[in-house]
Symmetry: C2
């Protein structure tokens, strides 16, 4: 481990915030070293290229604080230079539509994570909100091969169970579920059952644990003690090395954006996702995880709640780093 890692490495494996200079400064002060940021959900090819351009503009305007990481070594470089490495990801495969050649075009623009699906079915596979999950399709297999070749991480967050199992098996490189929790902790459509967790473990796959309220026991009232208890149980089930945090922190956005996340342009009705009371607002966050820099606080909370220091340090960053290193 390089000397720059004397301070714990802090990597958030998924955030979707409306970033501005103030928010970046806070994350920077909070010691974040790398963040996998969501670029798009439902956006088409052209819109996705535009969103990437907007990200490059933000990075250029804040280059004292952040850089765009296309390789894992740039995460170390960022740490050394006291910057946050920003890693681009898509929470859907909408940007590539049905065009395999677009995978490389987006890779060349810095995209290093792509979900096969976002709740709904795509040409690649089934979403976790579908009543019937196709598993990975013909095009899905072609795209997985291409992502393996390039070094783009296959992200199975928001995928259906069969699609998860198929992709874990089919991919030659280990896959990630960047932001979800085990169903044994909270039984939601987005969380992952033991069969998928074990399949993941058998193929060296990764899970980033989520702080998004709908993925938490007691939602926004989730206690840190319960969250840490879940982590200990998960370590027993799949080992320590492939667990990280993918906070799914979504802050600074107006309420329209949570409705965009749920509805995109796929329905004329209103879909409320996993909000059982049809809440059109952002859900209430746990008071112990409401800002990017809470990743650092979580490190100490984990240690206070019976997770060994070396394990807690791995979970907040080193594990993600090691996993990313296998890809880019």
């Amino acid at each position: 481990m390089s000397k720059v890692l004397d301070e714990p490495l802090l990597i958030d494996g998924l955030e979707y915030c409306k970033w501005n200079r103030d928010l970046l400064k806070n994350a920077h002060r909070g010691g974040l070293n790398a963040i996998h940021v969501t670029v798009v959900y439902w956006e088409n090819t052209e819109e996705s290229f535009i969103k990437i351009q907007e990200w490059h503009k933000l990075i250029s305007e804040n280059k004292d604080l952040i850089l765009n990481a296309k390789t894992s070594s740039q995460i170390l470089e960022a740490k050394k230079n006291k910057k946050i490495a920003i890693i681009f990801g898509f929470q859907n495969s909408a940007p590539i539509a049905n065009d395999i050649f677009l995978v490389e075009k987006f890779f060349n623009k810095g995209v290093r994570f792509m979900q096969l699906t976002y709740n709904n079915q795509t040409p690649l596979g089934g979403g976790c909100f579908e009543s019937k999950d196709s598993g990975v399709s013909r095009f899905g297999e072609a795209v997985i091969e291409e992502m393996n070749r390039l070094g783009m991480i296959i992200d199975l967050s928001h995928a259906g169970k069969q699609t998860c199992l198929d992709a874990i098996k089919f991919s030659k490189k280990p896959v990630a579920i960047s932001h979800a929790n085990p169903k044994f902790f909270h039984d939601s459509l987005r969380n992952v059952d033991d069969e998928v967790l074990k399949a993941l473990k058998n193929r060296d796959g990764f899970i980033g644990l989520s702080l998004y309220p709908y993925h938490l026991k007691n939602l926004g009232d989730c206690k840190i003690e319960d969250f840490c208890e879940m982590i200990k149980q998960l370590i027993n089930l799949i080992g320590i090395d492939n667990i990280g945090i993918g906070s799914d922190l979504c802050i600074n956005w107006p309420n329209e954006v949570v409705m965009w996340m749920r509805n995109g342009r796929w329905t004329k009705k209103t879909d409320y996702g996993e909000s059982k009371d049809h809440n059109p607002s952002w859900p209430k966050l746990p008071n112990w995880y409401s800002k990017p820099e809470d990743l650092n606080n979580l490190l100490y909370s984990m240690m206070k709640n019976g997770i060994k220091e070396k394990d807690a340090i791995k979970i907040v960053g080193i594990n993600w780093f090691n996993f990313m290193q296998k890809h880019f």
Copy 2:
């Protein structure tokens, strides 16, 4: 029935030809009254709008021969004015990507048929070449409702079996399989089994019989006698009123185009579709159906082969007309 129908109405429920003035003249001389033409397969939204523009240019340049029909009454108008009514259709849902609002935009441009899938899975449903068929997805249901509302025909050609069954059941208006044959005639991935045919019959759904060699008994060597025998058997199974011809005639194209139809941009490998000998060329057509005007010849061949005159007349046009009238 209007007086303009004294001559048998000739409607081809699907053709994909590289049209030019000579070909249009031949079809015109051959007595064709309406053709559902394929505008795109794998093209994205923007490309699809461009293809429609190109069609409008062709129509405008040949307005003595053809017109664009957006309503079934324009088919009668075309017949009266001795023109061919051109009805636009998509053989895939790629043009609408994941955007429900695009359905109406394309409808307004004249699109009156859309397939949910083309061989492969889409966000709407499963394709007939997939090993696992999801059936109709959440977005698929939303799109079917929208197509029902607008009067765009749901075309299940190239869909998987479960997707056919789901769509037939879910759609409030009868659906079509514009170009396929019964599996009892020739067991190919693209043809339709008895369960789907019966489900179609129960909901007043339509099937256009195909002359594409991979859908025919003995492929391009298929005998007209065998084809007519199949029609008689099908009439016994589902009745006479919902059977037409969707010739799937693809002529005047270079071989690259058959490979585009199979591969689009979804794979870097080469997919040969249903060509068992990996033929990268257009398949050999039956000598009795190699040009648009053979629809008229088929009418007489059917009568010669034991299909009643009034049934044969229905099959070559009236049935399609009556079905289209339910939609637009």
